[in-house]
Point group: C2
Chain length 657, copies 2
């Protein structure tokens, strides 16, 4: 069914009315964007988008990403009007209030119809790139019958000014993601004023330079919008549609100005807007015939879903497809058995190499793994032997050459994880977690299973010097809620941490891995890393010292303990590959591992000491609280006091004092 | 003097020889880029760049930024060959070894001729934008006689793939920075392989879309290079020169491949390269006639400098110009006196507003302040009344509309600070420090006086919800070495923190400021914030509790203390606006403030608790270790336990236990 344009106008005004009312009631929010893009969004949902309000997680739905997330009332209006269970009108009445799923910015974990959390500008667009990648990959695996959808994005000037958008569209252009369609809210207004204050760019020309098709339309002319969206849908290139709009369209005195961007219109202007729009319904009320038109839109998607489900049931790969989309790992314990083979000999390899060894085991067994690196494949050791490149010519490949685009990669991985059907992991140097930090945070906030393989995790990387040597990165990542930061000490812990990362469906993980070789210190097959920290070696004499170390410093802690024990000072060595998991242990376990007031606790980690007092206050924190330097690793460790000879006397002073 | 091209070729080969030899000796480093860009760099230094090796800090020199910092041997070679004091040939022999100023990546704090620290890709280019901005601003203030120089950049594919480059060149295009010239090392190779693996962009088209002029040349044809650089120098637009080069040029078997990017060539290939280049000198030796040609190049700059110094001496503004370039603040205590006026009444304003009030005092008195915001001027309260916009039409303005470009802004501010003559500050929401985190780190590493005005510093921002509410940001910024993180509690502390930030010539500062109004709790004029933490109110009963709070939680700590004191529990309230400055105090002061084993110490900060155990282990850490939520601020503070009624019982439990 196609609604004619005389019926679309009141539908769009319903979005405007809800947006005005909700922002006014909350006395907080952004009416300008929902009002400006109401017409475009109405055409998108009425004529183009494939969706079924009864099944917000239907795998073959089109994805809709509101990259300009501050305009959240647009998506809340659309979901409510088209008949999704959530949000209800009551939720919208409570926009931005405690407990309402209608948060200030759309949150994927509060409303099933919200594909991803947006608000941090540019990242919605970049996540959409990841969704479009996942779609093409799964299509290559499972065929058109199961996977055949598009990803539509609404982005504002802010999204297109943020650097990440350059990374995202470069990736999309190179990968020829023809099912990615971006509707640019070209309203020429930012918070500070007219866009000419800060930019003079020819945005479509830039998109064309990256291999995109560009179109434009009058964002308030339904026929023109429909034409442009149809052309966009038909294009085999990633497509930008410049929608020329008036911000706050419908508010007669404020539209077209930055005053309407992020503040309530006020009672007077709302009254004027209602008059101008001919909108007479009470606040939060939608006239029945307009609501009926909105509610009619899901029928096409419902039919498409029914047909799709029939195909799924008939497809020999249907069960495997459903497993992957559900996020369940393959059954069986092949993986654990294979890792067990490593317990025999000593593998004194860098943990980045250990990680590669893990991937060579995991990739064939967990085919939904899609790896990659931000142009450091050989350094991050992220490519498994079985992985072919994911390219425009071969979407079946499962290894992505992301290019020098850390932020774009991280956001794309978020999009892939949220799309479902793949488990993304990607590598860069740990120091460059700084470049993608907010995307890592959004992995955590969105409860997305993304694995960050972050190598060269300390001064142990050596000669590249302070710009490349993480000091504060490990501890600062630990501060992000719902993120597991793993720093394994050897090949066995690396395998354990990989398993724990994959077994965390609702949380991202960081694997902080060494460049330099490390001694294998574990030769047992118990999954000890799951405790977060554990006693690697117990004191032989009466315990006076507990050494707590992570990663490359665990082998050093063992040497320190050797010397202390030789002096008759009983010393436990605790490996703490994951502080977050240790925090989750019960009091008894923690007390046993950490010991009481009778022991001196010492943390050893080649990074910031701030934070270690949680476990070692009153004891010692061996770390580095200044920038590194350029020199071979062994010289740096000596220079910064990371030798048993330097550490033991410091501990002796504490024990005797 | 213009050297003909037959003499330039051996000069360029001297760069190649030094680069091969140094990387080989270090068994670490990147020979590919210096060898590939040796010809271009030789023409630049021989014919175009204005420099005087005897005066590396001469204010009117051209700036040269090696944005592709991994090619550090290029700049070390250039500085040594042209006759700068540093690096010496011995320094180059010790490339990447402990104590050598020839670090893996070029560091501005180790070698005076290195304008900025590069290596984190894209940031060199973005810092160059800031240098070019500072040049135009000072030119507008002091005229062509004192300020008339260009900024030349060498950037690689990595620099142009990173998102920050989009922000940087958009800013440069909008501001029409015609003295900014970028030489793109167009070698079509990245670490992972051919650039076509990860990008298909038409880079010059993108630059043109942003208002740049684009040129190209054969990067191994001296005449063509000279033509292109002359055209670039003559253009009144920011200019990109695509220099088509062969990575590792001169290494006959490895050139043109990613194998030559980041590893020593090996003895065999070096021998082959020497044969191919006709280079017969011993390692690290430069034939006398070639060195003489290089050493002759500085003469032109020396003459220009002499003429410039004569103009400076004769200029009525010469002393003021020199003051600003030296980084000295204006003399006098006008500022302190003006702030003193605030001690009288209660100004219960948000600290972001208090900061604006400070700026209105400071901007007229400290004219070298150049402010700005990443499109949040009204929210960050960063614009002082006297500041006019800095635009292409008026470079005399001192307020920059940076657009939605946090990372680009931060890097540009680094460039401005390193250029000298201005003190940059810029605003965004604290949460978006994540977007520019590595540039903040580079401010600290480079010892650059940049002031980050980061507002909306906790859940106190309210309705915008978890994407916008900092949780871990304050603590994670504290982890960055050489960065002062200030979180003032009221209007007086805000003024103090601004003064401390300006009085730190070798360190950047973060001002974490509230969106919401805060009670004025200080009414004295002593500069207490300089201690980092101080006793705001002493216990009236015997001290049993020390409450340590920051920012918006100080007023809460006072309420908590009121209740505790009412129950007879003596409670100090300590305000800790800057943990870093407190760490620098002597033991006695710290012990006095913190108290001994007889007190319960409690930290109160609406953010991560990890880290607070440094001061309050065994006591209580009142904080937030999960993501926030969308609701009015007062509801959020109640929900997260930030009320006296919620906190007091927790402390009572500790005191009695």
């Amino acid at each position: 069914m196609t609604l004619d344009h005389t019926r679309l106008a009141p539908m769009a005004n319903a979005i405007r009315a809800l947006s005005m009312d909700a922002v006014q009631a909350a006395n907080s929010g952004h009416p300008g964007m929902p009002m400006g893009m109401a017409d475009v969004a109405t055409v998108l949902f009425a004529q183009v988008l494939k969706f079924d309000p009864a099944a917000p997680k239907w795998p073959d739905r089109d994805r809709f990403v509101l990259s300009a997330g501050h305009g959240s009332m647009l998506i809340y209006s659309l979901l409510h009007l088209t008949g999704y269970d959530s949000p209800t009108i009551e939720d919208i009445r409570n926009f931005r209030q405690m407990g309402s799923p209608c948060a200030g910015h759309p949150e994927n974990f509060l409303i099933p119809g919200v594909e991803c959390t947006t608000g941090p500008l540019g990242q919605g667009l970049a996540m959409a790139v990841g969704m479009a990648m996942a779609e093409r990959h799964l299509n290559a695996m499972f065929g058109d019958g199961l996977v055949d959808h598009k990803t539509w994005v609404i982005a504002g000037d802010g999204c297109l000014m943020e650097g990440i958008n350059h990374e995202a569209l470069g990736l999309a252009g190179t990968l020829k993601l023809g099912r990615l369609k971006v509707l640019w809210d070209d309203n020429r207004i930012t918070i500070d004023g007219d866009t000419s204050l800060s930019t003079s760019e020819d945005i479509p020309a830039r998109f064309r330079a990256a291999g995109w098709e560009t179109l434009s339309c009058d964002g308030h002319d339904f026929a023109d919008i429909a034409r442009a969206l149809a052309e966009a849908a038909a294009s085999d290139k990633p497509t930008l549609v410049a929608c020329r709009t008036v911000i706050g369209k419908g508010a007669p005195n404020k539209q077209g100005s930055h005053d309407v961007h992020g503040a309530p219109l006020g009672a007077e202007e709302i009254a004027a807007a209602r008059a101008a729009l001919g909108w007479t319904a009470a606040p939060f009320e939608i006239p029945a015939e307009i609501l009926a038109d909105w509610r009619s839109l899901g029928a096409k998607g419902a039919a498409a879903r029914a047909a799709w489900e029939a195909r799924l049931a008939a497809d020999s790969q249907g069960a495997e497809f459903s497993r992957r989309m559900a996020g369940d790992l393959p059954a069986g314990d092949d993986v654990a058995r294979t890792f067990a083979g490593w317990l025999d000999g000593d593998q004194n390899v860098a943990t980045r190499k250990a990680s590669e060894n893990c991937l060579n085991v995991l990739a064939p067994l967990v085919p939904e793994l899609v790896g990659g690196s931000a142009d450091l494949t050989g350094s991050n050791n992220t490519k498994a032997k079985v992985q072919a490149p994911f390219t425009a010519a071969d979407y079946a490949g499962s290894y992505v050459y992301y290019g020098i685009r850390e932020f774009g990669m991280a956001a794309a991985m978020n999009g892939m994880a949220l799309h479902g059907g793949v488990i993304p992991y990607g590598g860069t140097f740990l120091i460059f977690s700084d470049y993608c930090r907010n995307a890592i945070r959004l992995s955590a906030l969105q409860q997305a299973r993304v694995v960050y393989v972050l190598t060269h995790d300390s001064i142990g990387l050596g000669e590249d010097g302070p710009t490349h040597q993480p000091i504060e990165q490990v501890m600062s990542l630990r501060l992000i809620p719902n993120l597991n930061v793993f720093r394994p000490c050897d090949v066995i812990e690396t395998a354990e941490c990989w398993m724990l990362a994959l077994q965390s469906p609702d949380a991202p993980s960081v694997l902080a891995l060494s460049r330099q070789n490390l001694a294998q210190v574990r030769h047992d097959g118990e999954m000890l890393s799951a405790r977060g920290a554990y006693r690697l070696r117990a004191a032989s004499a009466a315990r006076k010292v507990v050494l707590i170390a992570t990663g490359s410093e665990v082998q050093l802690a063992l040497q320190v303990a050797d010397q202390l024990e030789a002096s008759g000072i009983g010393s436990d060595v605790v490996s703490m590959p994951c502080m977050e998991l240790f925090e989750q242990q019960d009091h008894g376990y923690k007390a046993d591992i950490l010991g009481g007031a009778d022991v001196v606790r010492v943390s050893i980690e080649a990074g910031s000491t701030l934070g270690w007092e949680r476990y070692t206050a009153g004891g010692l924190q061996i770390g580095i609280d200044r920038f590194g330097a350029s020199a071979p690793a062994k010289d740096l460790f000596a220079r910064f006091g990371f030798t048993a000879d330097a550490i033991v006397p410091r501990i002796m002073g504490k024990v005797s004092s």
